[in-house]
Amino acid sequence: MSERHPLTQFTIRAMPFSDAASDALPLRQLLRLSLFQVSVGMAAVMLLGTLNRVMIVELSVAAWIVAVMIALPVVSAPFRALLGFKSDTYRSSIGWKRIPFLWFGSLYQFGGLAIMPMALVILGEGKQAIGPEWVGEAGAALAFLLTGLGMHMTQTAGLALAADRATEETRPRVVALLYVMFLVGMAVSAVIVGWLLRDFSELRLVQVVQGTAVMTLVLNILALWKQERVTPMSKEEREAPRPSFRDAWRDFASGGKAGRLLVVVFLGTMAFNMQDVLLEPYGGEILGLSVSSTTLLTTMWAAGALVGFGIAARQLSRGQNPYRMAGWALVFGLLAFSAVIFAAPLQSALLFFIGAGLIGFGGGLFAVATLTAAMTMPAEGLAGRGLALGAWGAAQATAAGFAIAIGGTVRDLVNSASMSGLLGDALADPATGYSVVYHVEIGLMFATLIALGPLTRFQRTNPTPGEAKARIGLADFPT
């Protein structure tokens, strides 16, 4: 350090994105870094909520095409593991691992949103003037794919960067903050976009969607500016061949903990998300709640999630074992779904709202606990943090996508069977379909608990020297 030329030092300080500051992550920088989550949340709301509705209602696109388009980002989620691995083994003379991926991820997310409205307009009925028929579908597919890929790249690299910079003590709080920002991004942009699109026109659609594209770039560049520490690689390091993904994956999966954690994340996320699009119709159709009070449901869910994030951060930074925390989250989930199921026979709206809040609470606890566990995975051998976080993200995003699709399908199938009297008179009730989904979720929670069990034992009987020593006494702290 001391032998650096003053000019060199000046450049290092002035150069964009690079920051030679200390290891610690000051709050201001952390808040700035978390802006990438706001932009990813914004894109998620656009893809899954706003554009979904706009395509079906305003542009009258066939439902199956809409379903395929929305599935594209979900289907590409497993690439996260590969992206994380690429970022871990990135060869850079400057010493960047995450910044290039954040930059190009932002660019793809921006690009997808930038071409999205035009593609959707062409996709709509009778809006195409010239050219072959398939252009609308191809353009929309490209837009959804680019946006999804960009979100996956941005989030994987961003989480890995946050994990690189956080210390052992601050990690749970960093994770919780990143989750809060994701929720904030979704909530705020849902309100703003909904308000802007209240008088729908094609011009307005183009303005709003491209506006979010520009916001993506603004937020992400603010987030990544000067965040990654520059650790230049020597010539030998740069020229060393990159390890193969298969070898890195073998190192990652060795020890048995990583694979199990992924199974837990997959099953648990399915369990906490299957009711996602079913809670509001359940409230309206079965409990006879009004539209405004079903909107309150989302508020209850979000409030529960925020409390969950807060409590998870507090307990985990006090040394609570993240795997046990995930276990507690599942217990709260069991309570939550029991409450939701019993709300129908008891016709109790109160019980239903409590259930919705508890689903949010349990889901929040579970998400922070498992993400903290993924970040804490020792980066050993060829497997780095990017791979671990990419794999976590892949399991989480895929499970959430599948869960929503399965939930809706199961409700429809069971309801059409039960209403036609196929399952007997006792079950000929529109509540049956919903109830089956909630019971499946409870079953999945027990499955997750079974998968989770050995992980908590690993931590207690087989602590890694040094790491667990300071924490073992507090791991049994009552919650």
Partner: protein, 51 residues
């Protein structure tokens, strides 16, 4: 700093480092240009402005 012998002062960046920063700029511009092209084609198909 890196052990590169071919230093390209006065920026303090080595040749390799400067090239890397440059490559992000160039690739970014390429991606951006391609996206602009696609967007223009899509707009032209819905409202042809040439003939």
């Amino acid at each position: 700093m890196s052990d590169d012998p071919d230093k390209a002062s006065p920026t303090g960046l080595s040749l390799k480092e400067a090239e890397e920063v440059h490559s992000y700029l160039i690739d970014g511009t390429r991606v951006f240009g391609l996206l602009a092209l696609i967007a223009h084609v899509l707009v032209a198909l819905s409202t042809p402005w040439l003939g």
